[in-house]
């Protein structure tokens, strides 16, 4: 029997360091491993003994692309531990800053990291030589997302304005009005992006994912909801451990997650969209249908369309929040720390980001646990790679490598997050 190993030693256009190993025995894929060698940074350990006030600033540093996701999940978890609720306009402002992060992160992936795969370029810079308008429009949308982060958070990367209880400083009506003009323009451009990416050549693939996302009674989810799945999970976020389990595997510094009873699951835009289509505004639903999507999309390549749709939604939602903005009396609710345990789960651009903290009486962190989106997706990504590789085994290694790397990029993995770089090695036997 012939054995062959193929590898991609450093995956490009993903955030972080990982590789891919493929083992082929004869005419079947024996193993597909997303090998994450991102050096662990040990956040759960370094948080022990730190104060609750500095925790949102520290966890932001897990990821430069989605710092708000970490700040939000941490703030909610600590508020849960202290028995605090943040409601009204402060809650709306949290959704608003999260809109900025979705816009910035999704626009980055759609135009700069994912679109080059469909149009046959190594990167957006070279793609711009032939498709300058797409790249310019994508960058402009991304820039508006970053402006939302800058006005509400002070800066795009590691914003300084999020705290347990709310914010340090409230935006003025005038600052938000300035954003509204920019968001109108971004919305228009994003609608154009949806129509454009819908015409890309998509492989005809459907994967049998168990989708997992938050679900809220009335809203498309950002900060709150129950954890639901396409196979019947419907639990409080506090019961995560009863249904899901994390497992360490030798080839990854990111822990793998599974549904205890079944196995792999998928979080992120496809899951959010598929479980919350009915929570999208009618215009966004209509745009989805126009772009050829049903209420659920299981083709990972078409996630580029879903991300673009979520950008349209985030622009609309941001505009709705700004139109209804009345500055509240205080920038934050009063925080009185206490000994306790708290759980927070919010929708990062790449899917649910779950945090649990135990606190001492003065709010000092006793233990921390953080489950990022990409680590949860690793088993599903590996299953995708095995399937796609199996379908092109008769092709040259370069084709196999390329198709596998594309399968990984479909999920916008953030490896820096998950390990708190990708190589593809294929082994034929």
């Amino acid at each position: 029997m012939t054995t062959k190993r193929l590898s991609v030693d450093y995956l490009a256009r993903v955030e972080g360091e990982g590789a891919l190993d493929l083992e082929i025995e004869g005419d079947r894929v024996a193993a597909a491993r997303l090998r994450i060698f991102e050096p662990p940074r040990l956040f759960e350990a370094l948080l022990r003994g730190r104060g609750y006030v500095e925790t949102p600033d520290i966890v932001a540093r897990i990821c430069g692309i989605c710092p708000i996701a970490y700040q939000m999940s941490a703030a909610h978890a600590l508020e849960d531990a202290f028995g605090i609720r943040v409601e009204g306009q402060l809650r709306a402002l949290r959704r608003l800053i999260y809109c900025g992060e979705w816009i910035e992160s999704h626009a980055l992936h759609v135009v700069m990291l994912h679109a080059p795969d469909f149009l046959g370029y190594p990167d957006a810079m070279r793609m711009a030589a032939d498709h300058r308008d797409i790249v310019r429009q994508g960058l402009e949308v991304k820039k508006v997302g970053n402006e939302v982060l800058r006005v509400l958070g002070g800066r795009e990367i590691h914003p300084v304005n999020v705290r347990v209880g709310g914010f340090y400083r409230l935006p003025t009506r005038r600052e938000l009005a300035g954003l509204a003009d920019r968001l109108e323009r971004a919305h228009e451009l994003a609608v154009g992006l949806v129509r454009l990416v819908a015409t890309l050549p998509f492989p005809d693939v459907e994967r049998d994912y168990e989708l997992v996302a938050l679900r809220h009674p009335d809203e498309y989810p950002f900060n709150e909801g129950r954890l639901v799945s396409s196979r019947g999970i419907d639990i409080d976020i506090a019961d995560f451990d009863t249904t899901f389990a994390e497992r360490q595997v030798p080839h990854s510094t990111a822990l793998h997650s599974h549904v205890r009873e079944r196995g792999a699951y998928l979080v992120g835009p496809l899951a959010r969209y598929g479980l919350n289509f009915d929570r999208l505004p009618a215009e966004v639903q209509a745009l989805a249908r126009e772009a050829g999507l049903g209420p659920r999309c299981l083709n990972p390549y078409r996630s580029i369309v879903v991300r673009a749709l979520e950008v349209v939604f985030a622009c609309q939602e941001a505009l709705r929040i700004i139109a209804a903005y009345e500055p509240p009396e205080a920038a934050a609710v009063e925080v009185v720390p206490r000994a306790g345990e708290g759980i927070g789960c919010t929708e990062a651009p790449r899917g649910i980001c779950w945090h649990r903290y135990e606190t001492a009486a003065d709010g000092t962190i006793r233990t921390a646990r953080i489950v990022p989106p990409t680590s949860q997706n690793q088993p599903s990504i590996e299953a995708d790679i095995a399937a796609v590789a199996g379908s092109v085994l008769d092709q040259p290694d370069e084709v196999i490598r390329d198709r596998c790397a594309r399968s990984i990029r479909n999920h916008d993995p953030c490896i820096s997050c998950s390990a708190h770089a990708l190589r593809l090695r294929v082994r034929r036997r």
Partner: protein, 261 residues
């Protein structure tokens, strides 16, 4: 086009959050111009075209935390005419340098069920602890305008014009009311400028993410904090965060250890 004469840029990642290299992609208005002025030869986060060295300028993000990376940074240095570190991880070891003050085995065991699979060093160290560095751009994250200045300077063969004064100067320029005089502890007086005095503008004290300024008077500031009623533990934590490994901040944090007098 003068393709072969364009300087070749490489962007490298070690232990980090990707935020500083993202700053380059966040130059939405300038990115295409940068791409015209420079040959972006190696930038895996943005491109699958990875051109082999040598490179004219390497930007290095992240700190050194594994034996493998100790060897890799030497290779990067060997292939680079100029090497510039970007951000607190590459310049001071980053937040992950908190392990330097603890038992790393204990840290790994707190996160992983099978610590044996994890190959990591006991310390997180800056790039300058391993190879010669031509310029260090501070910040967690770096300021993208300063990053463009660094690129321009190296293109023009001059030193980057990056002010080494404190955040206080930026605060005055911005017209902020000093938060210290209102009773809020602030690291601004000892912290390197570059952020634009963001935290005081957002009504909170600076938390030192740009690291120490040139010749910081950390002990004098710590005394001011004590006068405001800040406990030794809080002072220790303030100096021991994103730039914990920077010498001036490390020394001041150690002066407020529980066993210190």
């Amino acid at each position: 086009m003068a393709e072969p004469t364009r300087p070749r840029l490489a962007v490298w990642k070690f232990a980090s959050c990707d935020g500083c290299q993202l700053s380059l992609l966040d130059c939405e208005d300038e990115l295409l111009a940068v791409d015209e002025a420079l040959d972006i030869a190696y930038f895996p986060e943005a491109s699958s075209a990875m051109v082999e060295g040598p490179y004219t300028l390497s930007l290095v993000e992240g700190s050194i935390t594994t034996a493998h990376d100790v060897a890799r940074i030497r290779e990067v240095r060997a292939q680079s005419r100029h090497l510039v570190t970007i951000g607190a991880c590459a310049t001071a070891g980053g937040i992950q340098a908190l392990r330097n003050f603890a038992d790393v085995d204990d840290f790994v065991a707190a996160v992983y069920a099978s610590p044996d699979y994890i190959a990591t060093l006991a310390t997180s160290t800056p790039i300058s602890a391993h190879v010669a560095v031509d310029f260090e751009l501070q910040g967690c994250p770096i300021n993208k305008v300063q990053l463009l200045e660094v690129l321009s300077a190296f293109l023009a063969g001059r030193r980057p014009a990056i002010a080494a004064h404190s955040v206080c100067i930026e605060c005055k320029r911005r017209g902020n009311v000093c938060v210290m005089v209102q009773g809020t502890p602030c690291l601004g007086p000892v912290t390197h400028a570059g952020c634009g005095a963001l935290c005081p503008a957002y009504r909170r004290g600076c938390y030192g993410c740009y690291g120490p300024m040139e010749t910081p008077r950390t002990a004098a500031l710590a005394r001011e904090w004590q006068a405001l009623g800040v406990a030794p533990r809080e002072i220790r934590h303030a100096f021991r965060s994103f730039n914990a490994g920077a010498e001036a901040f490390r020394e001041e944090s150690e002066a407020h250890d529980d066993q210190a007098t």
